[in-house]
């Protein structure tokens, strides 16, 4: 109990402490002591990570307090939660260490680190939430605490993006809350189950049709956070305006809250209840549309960070597609892709950040020859890109393999074949929008002025996190079995 609680409270308190202790000085006050700030933030990240890893092995759930009658704030660690918090505990500290260097050229560092730690704590709480109301509480808090990361640089564009993020998320969260009211009436309890559903049998027979609507609204609502069409527009606006390490966390970790939410909702309703209904069909359609559209938009996008954000839209719907197919194989694929996409996308965004930090270049066509200047960064970028496309032996291949396999075995008419086809087309598009960067980066062509090349490799503090994330993305492709075992446990509800 104390481990779970400290993995949630420690980063939140540390974040608040940083916000208060090192707040941006007014005119005439002493500037913030940058060294002690980064030291504090770094220590807090490491300590939190240790707490989280220890908490992963916690077995027993506990109720913290009652929000209202029969609405307990309840925490429990289960297999699904473990996978998501495993992702967070690797990506967030990595990106955090990256930002110690990166944030040198941005202002208001204390605010950044403060909210960064808040996000870490809230995301842990989200993973460990044991019932829907606790989950909803931290889902809202996640939006609130991550919004300052989006509008960090304070420009008008960033503030508008932050507000857009806020409104989309609130709309989505409200749609989900709407569903929670009904679940509250029709379920025995709001505690999560994984496969069998918590609906009362009488409720299904009496208002089955209505409950389907509720399920669809909830999936749409939580889908907003995961950037699912038609409520995806906030994502390509909000993610690129944040500082690069924050974009990495937003794209790799925070959007996964929407995926986790979807898994929880599926668990509440039970896959047996939803299988073969119009909800499943509509949901499959939406995810496939998003997969295709996201890739297409990314392909047309000239600004690198925006391109990566569109790619997030597309890749997240891979995961959602796997969930919508609703069988064990595709579920395994989805969870593997949660990890694979998390590591890969974080690495890609950090690479983009390193390029911006060292050269100030943001558009893809400016980046010719970049591989000659920053070889380590670009090698990592290339490997991660291959992973996202799904070329063996990277993590992306394994997850997509399972996704396609699950879809083909599902026996859903039309979609069982259409799904893998669209996934393949989208993978081609992914290759189309990521590989040119590496190709022109390493082979700028004969007409390129090689004399202007300088050595611009960033310092170890930046390259190390990128390398670690890239390495992990390959590692889960080479040795997927350990994770598959955990995921299998999650899929079967243990």
């Amino acid at each position: 109990m104390y481990l779970i609680l400290s993995s949630i409270l420690f980063p939140i308190l540390a974040g608040l402490f940083l916000l208060v202790r090192y707040r941006t000085p007014l005119s005439g006050e002493k500037p913030v002591d940058r060294q002690s700030l980064t030291a504090m933030a770094g220590c807090s990240l490491i300590i939190t990570a240790i707490f989280v890893i220890a908490a992963l092995f916690a077995e027993k759930g506990f109720t913290l307090f009652y929000l209202a009658q029969s609405l307990p704030i309840y925490f429990r660690v289960d297999s699904v939660g473990r996978i998501f918090s495993l992702l967070a505990v690797i990506v967030i500290p990595c990106a955090g260490f990256f930002s110690f260097e990166y944030m040198k050229h941005e202002e208001h560092e204390s605010r950044y680190y403060g909210f960064y730690l808040l996000v870490f704590g809230v995301f842990n709480a989200l993973c460990f939430a044991g019932n829907l109301i606790t989950f909803y509480l931290f889902f809202e808090l996640l939006t609130m605490s991550s919004m300052p990361l989006v509008l960090h640089n304070g420009s008008k564009e960033a503030v508008m993006a932050g507000l857009k993020y806020l409104f989309y998320s609130l709309c989505g969260a409200y749609a989900a809350l709407f569903g929670i009211y009904f679940l509250y009436r029709n379920c025995g309890s709001l505690t999560f189950t994984v496969v069998d559903g918590a609906l009362r049998a009488s409720a299904i027979t009496e208002h089955g049709g209505f409950l389907l609507v509720v399920a669809f609204v909830m999936l749409l609502g939580f889908g907003v956070k995961a950037g699912m069409f038609p409520m995806h527009a906030w994502l390509p606006t909000a993610h690129p305006v944040a500082p690069a390490p924050a974009s990495a966390v937003l794209s790799a970790v925070i959007v996964k809250a929407g995926v986790l939410a979807t898994i929880r909702v599926l668990g509440m309703f039970g896959t047996d209840f939803l299988k073969g209904t119009w909800v499943q069909t509509a949901w499959l359609c939406l995810t496939l549309v998003t997969v295709f559209m996201g890739s297409l938009l990314a392909y047309r996008e000239p600004v690198l960070k925006k391109r990566l954000a569109y790619s997030t839209v597309s890749q997240l719907s891979y995961i959602l597609f796997g969930l919508a197919v609703m069988n064990d194989t595709s579920f395994t694929g989805s969870l593997l892709h949660v990890l694979a996409h998390g590591f890969i996308k974080a690495a890609l965004f950090l690479c983009a950040g390193a390029i911006i930090y060292r050269t100030g270049k943001t558009r893809v066509e400016e980046m010719r020859g970049i591989g000659k200047e920053m070889p380590v960064t670009m090698w990592c970028f290339t490997i991660a890109s291959l992973g996202l496309i799904g070329i063996p032996p990277t993590g992306g291949f394994i997850s997509k393999w399972f996704l396609a396999l699950g879809s083909l075995n599902s026996g859903i008419p039309v979609f069982d074949v259409l799904g893998p086809v669209i996934l393949l087309v989208s993978a081609l598009l992914t290759a189309g929008y990521l590989l040119p960067l590496s190709i022109h980066g390493f082979f700028p062509g004969a007409d390129y002025d090689y004399g202007s090349l300088q050595k611009r490799e960033p310092c170890k503090l930046m390259t190390m996190p990128i390398s670690i994330l890239t390495f992990l993305s390959v590692l889960i492709g080479v040795f997927p079995f350990l994770i598959i075992v955990v995921i299998y446990l999650a899929a079967t509800g243990r």
């Binding site: 009652y66 009658q69 609130m144 503030v159 409104f167 509250y184």
Partner: protein, 497 residues
Amino acid sequence: MNFICNFPFFSILLSLFSGTICSVLPAKAAKVVNRVVIIVIGLMSAVLLLYLLSTGESFIYWMGHFPAPWGNEIRAGVLEAGMALFFCIIMYLSMAGGAHKLPGEVVESKHNLYYILVNLLLSSLLALVYTNDMFTAYVFVEINTISACGLIMIRQVGRTIEAAVRYMIMSLLGSGLLLFGLCIMYDLTGHLLMSNIKESVGLLIANGEYQIPLIVSVALMCIGLCIKSALFPFHAWLPDAYGYSTVSSAAILSSLVSKGYIFLLIKIIYRVIGFDIFNSTRIIDVLFVFGLMGMIFGSLSAIKENDIRRMIAFSSVAQIGYIYMGFGMGTQAGMVASIFHILSHAATKSLLFIAAIGLTDVSGGSHKFIDLTGAAYRNKWAGAAFTVGSLSMVGIPLFSGFISKLLFAQAAVQVEGKMLASLIVLGISTVLNAVYFMKTVIRIYAYAPDAPYKGITFRDMKAYAVVLVCFILLNVILGVSSQPIVDMIGQGLAMFA
């Protein structure tokens, strides 16, 4: 009769007479008297509440020992005592939070007049809460109006006079309608005591006599109180009255005065007409629709507003809409949600008004958003408090606003015909609330290094900061441990019947 049973009577008289005494005291002493009286009444209400919770029964107190139907009566149950206690807490915090602004807002010679008005206001509120007699209620409604007008007008700058006149006209219209309703009711039943009227109304309904006059009378009373509590189409007086009066007045007016009338309406619904009879009329549908419209249009007006005080004032219109929506559902659960929202809104709105003044003070006194940029860095406490208030208004869990939203939704789910409308409008209104409150929060936390205003530190505003902390705590307590309060409300409503 237990000595504690005198407490409601004592509270009303104490505040009434302390108001009179204030008129001959110097301003400083009047301030002390005012504070002490609020604390004493708060303590008495707390004791009374504990006593009522332990006995589990309400009691009726004869004024002057004349038995019904001739004598005047006071009635106290859990809900009344709890409301009185809550009103005292908010009143005290609002007065303390605005105290440092008073010398700048009101001329020195009128300070004790200010405290007279506050004391009178408190006594009328308490009387509205405790009375069991319709005519007494009417008298104190008028006293309430007069003192509220005084509180608006006492800050004599341009628009407050206009605001006060507007408030006066609208308010008198409201009390006029209430009086009409009352007269018709008296004509029909021959009684002024609530319990007696209820008996006669029950008989009239059972015999099927005078149906239309009865409905007209109920409708007149409802509309009268709706005007006075600024339900949506009758809210025109509100933004100016709240936007330009002194801080404490704004906080008190928005969180207490309108709530006093709403509480009177609840009493009329339960104690005069009878809950079931009231629900069988079409009036609840009208209240429901007005409530829903208020929730949306109040927020829309708030979004358009460029003045932080007026924005908060318009948000009151939306919140009052929530309360009437709860009435309109016509169920016990809806009523509980409304009463909880009375508490939650009172705690939040006064917090917002008090916090806003801290922000405008460090922005050259300007209410315009453009000047408020970065104000939260210049006054950290006010910034934090405003953020808490905003989050509560948006309905983020852990704050009081979420619980009322939850209660409303749970109530709505049980009412077949009104479920979808309430839930959808609740959703829209939540998002609209988020639009203007989060916009403001971002604005006050935007970094403005070249703003020409000076910051303020904890040392310069200890009392103010303490008040803000109390408000924040109140909000969090309502949000985190709502169950005992909800239970108490349920118990109080059960005592009404």
